[in-house]
Symmetry: C2
Subunit: 169 residues, 2 copies
DNA sequence: CGTTTCGGTTTACTTTTCGATACCCAGCCC
DNA sequence: GGGCTGGGTATCGAAAAGTAAACCGAAACG
């Protein structure tokens, strides 16, 4: 009997299939970054873009969607607006990443790494991520709190403190 | 002058903004896992679901989309079909994850980790990921090839071998 | 004072994706 | 052969995304 089946064996419900899935950190993160263009906007921020016209030019995405996504990213605290002023121009807003936004890097690195491995251009990647101090390429890895390296196969999922069953209707 | 600006300084083009973005591993990965339900289907596979009816029941997603997503995940080699047979029923297909699918774990762990940090239920996570051998919780971290721990701030992006400028029209 | 530039908003239209439901088919049971 | 079950299709309306263009306000420029 695994950690799931010992939770609720008296009812006829299956803890895996009848659990309440509304409290899921993956789904909640996807509510924010799961829309089209959002992650690509963040990619461009990491690559150095900051202005509305930068994003429009490099992404080629519709202006109305770009405005909507930027507004949402600012509302969520992933980007913040500052003002910049070029000599001879008036001051305008620019978008900079916050620490909350930087914390999305591991997730997006994971997507990058998978794409590099399975869907790469024969020539290789168009952009490389390097450790600034030593110049070596970076990747994401899974570790446990005791710092053992962990393979994906060595992970088990168990019910957590907020585990709930779905209310039956 | 950084690694970008030294690439093409003679033309009037900006290597960050006028580069060819079609060869991007992030965008390519999102073409597969960026659609609605796809990542949630994989989540359920990791949590132990394998049948069509399992996914439908726990996700509550439309059947036609579920069928489309499963077919695509199998085509892409992220899931594979096997057959199972319960006594008294005919044999039916079930979906199991491949090693290519397991390699998406770091990316999805990154989403999970961010959600746990910034959008958590006050009680905590509904599901915990643990290292099977030692029982400690797992997380994703960025390392460089020389195994230094790397903060997101310590990453720099530089043009890679397949870097190209967008062809001007 | 008129023009240009940037960072948007608004409108209008087409296309794609989503969501809900009904329907279909194969095999097992009786 | 009639009903039940599991794994899908087919269909259709609604919502979201894509496309294109016009419009706007402020500030700098001439």
């Amino acid at each position: 009997m695994d950690a799931w089946t010992e939770v609720l064996q008296d009812t006829g419900m299956d803890p895996r299939l009848d659990r309440d899935t509304s409290n899921c950190s993956i789904a909640r993160t996807l509510e924010i970054v799961g829309e089209k263009w959002t992650i690509l906007i963040l990619r461009e921020v990491w690559y150095g873009s900051s202005r509305f016209s930068d994003f429009e030019r490099v992404l080629g995405c519709p202006r109305n969607l770009l405005a909507t996504r930027l507004r949402m990213l600012v509302e969520e605290g992933i980007l913040a607006t500052e003002t910049y002023k070029e000599p001879g121009s008036r001051s305008r807003p620019k978008y900079v990443i916050t620490s909350k936004g930087m914390d999305l890097v591991p997730a997006v690195m994971g997507l990058l790494q998978w794409g590099d491995r399975y869907r790469a251009d024969p020539e290789g990647p168009a952009v490389l991520a390097r450790h600034r101090e030593c110049g070596a390429r970076v990747d994401v890895r899974i570790r446990c709190e005791r710092d053992h390296p962990v393979e994906a196969n060595d992970i088990e999922s168990v019910p957590g403190p907020a585990f709930r069953m779905r209310s039956p209707e």
